[in-house]
């Protein structure tokens, strides 16, 4: 019985991310394949690249990437090939075209705005005369001396 459970469990074990048998013999080509696949999303997983994913579909996509590379495609052509079939959802780094320009510019724009606002604030702070600093009351002075003595 225990044997049976064991066998069943081993059968249920999922495939692995990047198996030895799928790797290409040419190290340069393999490195390019890894580079591409770490930027492609596994469609059935939650926020994982196909390079990290254990899913069957991710394996198919990894093999597809390698197939295209072996066939002589450039990195861009390979990515285009996959985007054409699966949509831009597979890209973990969204392209800057169309509305996505907002996404890419959000950081720089916000930094610019922050620096300008901060600059205005600083200028005002450094030019306004010092407002009266609140004077301590007598009781507070006593308390201060007491604390300093501690």
């Amino acid at each position: 019985m225990k044997r049976l459970i064991l066998v069943l469990c081993l059968m249920a074990a999922p495939l692995w991310a990047v198996q030895p048998d799928e790797m290409l013999d040419d190290p340069a080509l393999e490195a390019r394949a890894r580079d591409i696949s770490s930027g492609l999303r596994c469609l059935v997983c939650r926020n994982e690249s196909i390079d990290d994913s254990h899913a069957e579909l991710a394996r198919d996509l990894r093999l597809l990437v390698r197939e295209r590379l072996v066939a002589g495609d450039s990195n861009e052509e390979t990515v285009d090939f996959i985007v054409e079939r699966y949509g831009e959802y597979v890209l973990l780094k969204p392209r800057a075209g169309g509305a996505n320009i907002l996404l890419w510019l959000a950081g720089p724009l916000m930094l610019g705005a922050g620096l300008i606002l901060g600059g205005i604030y600083l200028r005002r702070r450094s030019t306004t005369p010092e407002t009266d600093v609140a004077q301590l009351s007598e009781a507070e002075e006593d308390r201060l001396r007491e604390i300093l003595k501690e």
Partner: protein, 657 residues
């Protein structure tokens, strides 16, 4: 019976929170001392009742009471005791109960330790904190009741997700929640100050310990989570820019900004309205985090409750609190006049720069996280925003921050001379550049990231050392060393935390630039070579754990022909949960980790083996620990204890009106 008691206690706690949310607020408005004072016992009772409810749930888990739906879904009799206990918060309902327990705990801590607070401010703080409590008690009772019974209790449970059955992850949620919910305290202080119409140096001093504590907890929580991912997920990744990771990272960034701007409020009475705004936003991000994790609008590896009804409820809580607080802010912002005057080159202006960089960095993470949602709703485009985007968009802010940090940290308040600070840091800068150049020449054809990381490590650690040294004044070395031991802990905390940031930066950069990976098929008795280390597969065996079956491999690790360690990576299968996990074997070193994972048996014989050389891996978490330790040092600074001692001063009772 105990379950029903717990349920009843939870309802009572809700009612007490309702009472605490209203009565003291009216009391503070009408200046009725009695009505204000009830906030304190109410906070204590609320904590006790929530504690009883939490204890009852824990009891059900520990005794494996399978008449409780939640226990059936998340526990099993064969599960080790540690994970029966931590299983209480390894699910949506239980974790929400932990959340409200911490809300009540923070509230009670103000009631117990806040005796130097003005009574009206204290009453208002406790009242706002109770409002947060009310919202989340209602959320639990209406949508996620942990005390639901089963009509027909099953014989055994479904077991906890095996990935969560790990010490690193068992303690990751409580720390995160302490951090998230700690920010509710700064939120309460901010809203109370707005109602009160007074923000001064004293307010900054009361808020800072809570911000610091929340930030320290968040640092530890995030560090634990990332460490867990590193050794558990099987390829040594430590950060994935997953929506839920981002949800914890955004409050961390804002809390870091807040604890710096609160210094300016405390010491110089400037940046007040900005600090209040940050305090509101920080808790906002905490709730956004809760929403993202539990609503399922953004798919993530962490989401454990994908229920639209709960999502809507949480969104409503978020909307009400943010809209309320921001409206109040808009109405009251004019009462917060800045007092301090400072020049363009000063500590104040550098802290402002720190705040801009941290806040914009958090904003970038936020935009990246919600962009898939925005793009789908507004532009009808289904797209993903993942690691490559965040690495590109976020890193520049950290680079800028790292560059200016040592300079800013050494500026004097009010008016500083840039030349003097730069002169003091000249040596450290030269050293950092030299180290980076050395690394650059020693590596061939790899990315510039590694040397840049080392530059920042040397620059930040060296800068912190110079900062501490410069505070000892002038004189003989021995005299200065003696003075160094007597510096305020806040100074030490600052230097340690800043150095920690440098250590973490070096670790991340080295991992990304110099990691070596090897994937191959290995037969028993064969060996492989990775980055100068030898790994021999000695044997592979099957064995049974308490609630899993494992395939365990034995490797011998050798360096220059000398055997230095034996490593046992495992592949486990949890039959009840029907889930496999990988248990990587690690050989930790100061400068590198060796990381081995055993995979599936191959058709032609042999096993799939992945091995990694991970340079400076432990620096990532070591740096996080240093940052947390720096925060703790600062938290135990004398001035907070002196402030606490003010209790002993003659009580003046309620201020005469």
């Amino acid at each position: 019976m105990i379950t029903e008691l717990g349920h009843f206690a939870l309802i009572l706690a809700f009612l007490v929170a309702c009472f605490q949310a209203t009565i003291p607020l009216i009391g503070a408005y009408k200046r009725w001392p009695g009505w204000m004072a009830v906030a304190e016992p109410a906070a204590t009772i609320q904590l006790l009742l929530t504690g009883v409810a939490f204890g009852a749930l824990m009891w059900a888990f520990v005794t494996s009471d399978f008449s409780l739906r939640l226990v059936v879904l998340n526990s099993h009799t064969a599960k080790p005791m540690l994970y029966k206990i931590t299983g209480v918060w390894g699910n949506h309902e239980g974790s929400m109960l932990l959340w409200v327990l911490i809300v009540a705990l923070f509230g009670a801590s103000v009631a117990w330790f806040g005796s130097n607070l003005p009574p009206s401010l204290k009453a208002r703080v406790l009242s706002v904190q109770a409002m947060i409590g009310v919202a989340f008690f209602a959320f639990i009772l209406l949508t996620s009741n942990p005390f639901l019974r089963m009509a027909v209790p099953p014989f055994d449970g479904n077991d906890l997700n095996p990935l969560l059955q790990d010490p690193g992850l068992a303690f990751h949620p409580p720390f995160l929640y302490l951090g998230y919910v700690g920010l509710s305290m700064t939120f309460s202080f901010a809203v109370a100050a707005l109602i009160e119409g007074r923000v001064d140096a004293a307010w900054g001093r009361w808020v800072r310990p809570y911000t610091l504590a929340a930030w320290v907890f968040l640092t530890i929580g995030i560090g634990l989570g990332s460490w867990w991912a590193y050794y558990e997920l099987g390829w040594g990744g430590f950060w994935f820019w997953d929506p839920v990771e981002n949800a914890s990272f955004m409050p961390w960034l804002i809390a870091a900004a807040l604890l710096h701007s609160a210094i300016v409020v405390e010491k110089r009475e400037s940046l007040k309205s900005w600090t209040i705004l940050l305090a509101i936003i920080a808790f906002g991000f905490s709730m956004v985090g809760a929403f993202i994790t539990r609503s399922g609008v953004l798919t993530s590896v962490h989401a454990f409750a994908t229920d639209p009804e709960r999502g809507v409820f949480l969104l409503a809580i978020l909307a009400v609190f943010m809209a309320g607080a921001l409206t109040l802010f808009a109405a009251r912002a004019n009462v917060m006049q800045a007092k301090g005057v400072f020049s363009l080159v000063s500590r104040e202006s550098m802290l402002l720069l720190n705040n801009i960089l941290l806040a914009v960095a958090a904003f970038v993470v936020f935009v990246g996280t919600i962009w898939p949602l925005v793009a789908e709703m507004a532009f009808d485009r289904k797209l993903s925003v993942g690691e490559p985007f965040f690495n590109m968009a976020f890193t520049p802010f950290m680079v800028l921050l790292g560059l200016v940090l040592p300079v800013g940290a050494m500026m004097s308040w009010k008016r500083a001379t840039l030349g003097r600070v730069l002169r003091q840091l000249r040596g450290v800068f030269a050293l950092a550049v030299a180290i980076a150049a050395l690394a650059w020449t020693m590596q061939s054809g790899k990315s510039a990231l590694g040397p840049v990381g080392l530059f920042f490590a040397a620059w930040l650690i060296g800068g912190s050392a110079v900062d501490i040294w410069s505070r000892t004044g002038r004189g003989a070395v021995g005299e200065r060393l003696r003075r160094m031991t007597r510096l305020p802990r806040a100074d030490w905390g600052k230097s340690v935390a800043h150095a920690g940031l440098g250590v973490t930066m070096a670790g991340i950069a080295a991992m990304m630039a110099w990691q070596v990976e090897d994937i191959r098929v290995l037969k028993v008795g064969e060996d492989l070579e990775i980055a100068g280390f030898g790994l021999r597969l000695d044997k592979v065996e099957r064995l049974n754990g308490p609630n899993y079956i494992a395939t365990k491999a034995t490797f011998t690790l050798s360096e220059e022909g000398r055997e230095i360690a034996t490593m046992y990576p495992e592949k486990r299968n949890y039959p009840v949960a029907q889930m496999p996990t990988t248990e990587a074997a690690l050989n930790n070193g100061f400068l590198r980790d060796i990381y081995v994972v055993i995979g599936d048996p191959q058709q032609g014989g042999g096993w799939a083996v992945r091995s990694y050389y991970k340079p400076l891996a432990n620096w990532i978490w070591g740096g996080a620990l240093l940052m947390a330790f720096g925060g703790l040092l600062s938290l135990t600074d004398r001035r907070y204890r002196v402030a606490a001692g003010a209790r002993r001063a003659p009580a003046t009772g309620v201020p005469a009106e």
